[in-house]
């Protein structure tokens, strides 16, 4: 099984006729994703890789089944596109755009929270359940990274996710669902908010969190472990352990000042509640073997 997206999830693509949208729609279908339709204003009547195109999301949901929407939309139009999907009743939305204005990102997250929707992103590769379906751009054919299995992965990064996930696969495991919450300072959905789904997924045995200095998302994972709402093993890797204070290193979300948000503080907190923290990417695989008794 998996969370968020699986082989039966019916997905709409907003911005399907664009170069990027069209290219990745083909690969999403290639993996097995059910793409039921697409949206580009003024292009209704066309088809893209077999998916019918509609002028608006409202038109699309009147004609085809869709429970999720994938946005290939530039950052300055992302707010509008997210609200259009929410307005049409869609509750799962993935946006890959990098550089959504922060005030708009707050509005998006606030709306998602109040409407009970789960918006993932921006500044992410998206969500993939290897061997089943994806919303985003993952070269799923690279087996040493995107191998199906029983480890949930949540990440703020792109390249680092490949580095760490390759270690998970090298250690003999695979991935149930990988969720890129994104590298921006205001991700629409936070690590801890995905934990209940991983907790309830009978085919996820443990979760790997690929975090970073700055912010409080890793601290919130520790809270979920501490209050008993998440009981599966957690292995965490964080970048920026030796980053100098005050420098804006890494993603926009990563700035540490005055001791709060440092990897050292996060490590202490996570370890105090029983999560395992890997100092190096390679150790993520080793720690998984330990916690899963392999």
């Amino acid at each position: 099984m998996s969370i968020y997206i699986e082989k039966d999830t019916k997905v709409l693509i907003q911005g399907i006729t664009g170069k990027e949208g069209s290219y990745w729609t083909e690969h999403m279908i290639g993996l097995g994703t059910q793409v039921t339709g697409g949206v580009t204003p003024g292009k209704e009547g066309q088809t893209v890789h077999g998916a019918p195109v509609y002028n608006t999301v409202r038109r699309a949901v009147a004609e085809v089944e869709a429970e999720a929407s994938m946005l290939f939309v530039p950052p300055r139009f992302t707010k509008d596109a997210v609200f259009e999907a929410l307005d049409a009743g869609i509750k799962k939305i993935v946006t890959v755009a990098e550089g959504i204005p922060l005030h708009e990102a707050i509005q998006i997250r606030s709306a998602a929270l109040s409407e009970g929707a789960v918006v993932i992103g921006g500044n992410t590769s998206g969500v993939i359940s290897p061997g089943q379906a994806m919303m985003g751009f993952f070269p799923y054919w690279i087996e040493r990274v995107y191998k199906p299995g029983r480890i949930g992965v949540m990440t703020r990064s792109g390249s680092l996710t490949n580095e760490v996930t390759a270690m998970v696969v090298e250690a003999g495991f695979g991935v149930s669902t990988l969720i890129g919450v994104g590298g921006d300072s205001v991700p629409s959905t936070r690590f801890a908010e995905m934990l209940p789904d991983y907790q309830n997924d009978p085919e996820t045995d443990a979760v790997v969190v690929i975090g970073e200095l700055g912010g409080t998302m890793e601290d919130e994972v520790a809270e979920a472990i501490a209050d008993g709402s998440f009981t599966k093993p957690v292995v965490v890797f964080m970048g920026g352990r030796t980053a100098p204070e005050g420098k804006k290193m890494g993603h926009a979300g990563a700035i540490v000042s005055g001791g709060s948000g440092s990897v050292a503080d996060k490590t202490k907190l996570l370890e105090s509640v029983g999560a395992r923290v890997a100092k190096r990417p390679r150790l993520v695989g080793e720690l998984l073997k330990e916690v899963l008794g392999d």
Binding site: E98, H103, R109, L160, T161, N162, S185, G239, S260
Partner: protein, 372 residues
């Protein structure tokens, strides 16, 4: 982008917040008549680093002669002071901390206030968290007057001062909202002996994603600590200057940061942090050019790209080497989409491609240490 104090104060003025009377001088100019600003005065270096007071970059002068001599001292202190803001030294009764920022977890704006101003908020948060007042503001609704009044009462203010500070809270929020800012901070907010409320300092950070709307704050050398950081920023390449001898030319913020950690673990020292992943993955030449500006002993290239294809990056690296002829060794660890082709390209160019990040890091550290 973080603005200079004098720019932050210009924005405050626009929104009705009072600031001390002041005048700006560009190096080497200085006129002790101060354009009508009286004595005693304060000379404030306009640099973007925090902790100016501790670094001796803020001076108090009682006379024109003193001001002249301090101005010369600041301009020539070697810390890149190219501009001074000189303000009248007010008679201050008390100082308040006030800021507006975003709360990513709560998905709201957040007003932060504290009756003990003048101290960095991080220090306050650590030493006396109970003194910090937090008021969440719905970003769609905006701040409402009752919220500002609540904050002012919590600060222990009464009468006209309570009204004056509430008004500044509303004005500061309006500025924050209008510019789509990441941070609008007044620290300290002065309460003068004649009960005026005056912004003693100003920090204003505009979200880079909306910066294009404000051409008056176009990217200039003055916003950066080094030439290389400025040049990289103009090209849209994330770059940080350090003083070691290993140049990082990696892809992805998270991976580059991780390689930085691994270098430090192995006892190496980073010369620069540079990312050429994402939209920059075809720009190996420019990235290498920036690395070569450093007095480094090795360039370490680590990538694990998916959309940023390994073969395209490898080709770019080989082209860059042919054109730039770097005089330092290059260690590569390039993985991801089409990595087999990448290996062939690198080998054909005489490189020995590695596959393991930790091995690549150890090799770079060994070269820098003269052991390889």
């Amino acid at each position: 982008m973080k603005l200079f104090e004098f720019q932050a104060k210009e924005i405050f003025e626009k929104f009705g917040i009072e600031t001390p009377k002041g005048v700006v001088f560009d190096k080497p100019e200085f006129d002790s008549k101060l354009d009508g600003v009286g004595y005693p005065c304060v000379l404030k270096s306009q640099i973007l680093r925090g902790g100016r007071g501790k670094a001796g970059l803020i001076k108090f002068a009682d006379t024109p002669a003193e001001a002249e001599s301090y101005a010369a001292e600041l301009y020539n202190c070697g810390q890149g002071v190219d501009r001074l803001l000189v303000v009248e030294k007010g008679k201050i009764k008390s100082e308040i901390y006030l800021s507006v920022t975003l709360d990513p977890a709560a998905a709201t704006a957040l007003v932060i206030a504290c009756a003990d101003g003048g101290v960095e908020i991080e220090t306050l948060a650590k030493d006396s968290p109970e003194k910090i007042i937090r008021e969440r503001v719905d970003i769609d609704r905006g701040i409402l007057p009752f919220q500002a009044v609540n904050i002012a009462f919590q600060l222990g203010l009464e009468g006209d001062l309570r009204k004056g500070v509430s008004k500044v809270i509303m004005q500061l929020y309006a500025a924050f909202d209008a510019y789509g800012a990441e941070l609008a901070e007044i620290n300290p907010l002065f309460i003068t002996t004649d009960d005026k409320v005056v912004a003693g300092d100003g920090k204003f950070v505009i979200d880079d994603a909306v910066l294009a709307k404000y051409p008056e704050y176009s990217m200039g050398r003055e916003y950066f600590e080094s030439d290389a950081e400025f040049e990289a920023a103009v090209d849209g390449i994330p770059y940080l200057q350090f003083d070691g001898d290993i140049s990082l030319m990696c892809a992805g913020a998270g991976l580059t940061t991780t390689v930085y950690d691994l270098i430090n673990d192995e006892g190496g020292k980073v010369a620069n942090y540079l990312e050429f992943g994402g939209p920059n993955y075809r720009r190996a030449k420019r990235a290498m050019e920036l690395c070569l500006k450093n007095d480094n002993k090795v360039i370490l290239i680590v990538t694990f790209g998916t959309i940023a294809r390994a073969d395209v990056m490898a080709e770019g690296i080989v082209e860059a080497m042919n054109e730039l002829k770097p005089d330092v060794p290059i260690v590569t660890c390039i993985r991801g989409t089409n990595e087999e082709e990448a290996v062939e390209i690198l080998k054909a160019a005489g490189l020995e491609p590695l596959f393991d990040t930790e091995e690549a890091v150890r090799k770079a550290v060994a070269i820098a240490g003269g052991k390889a």
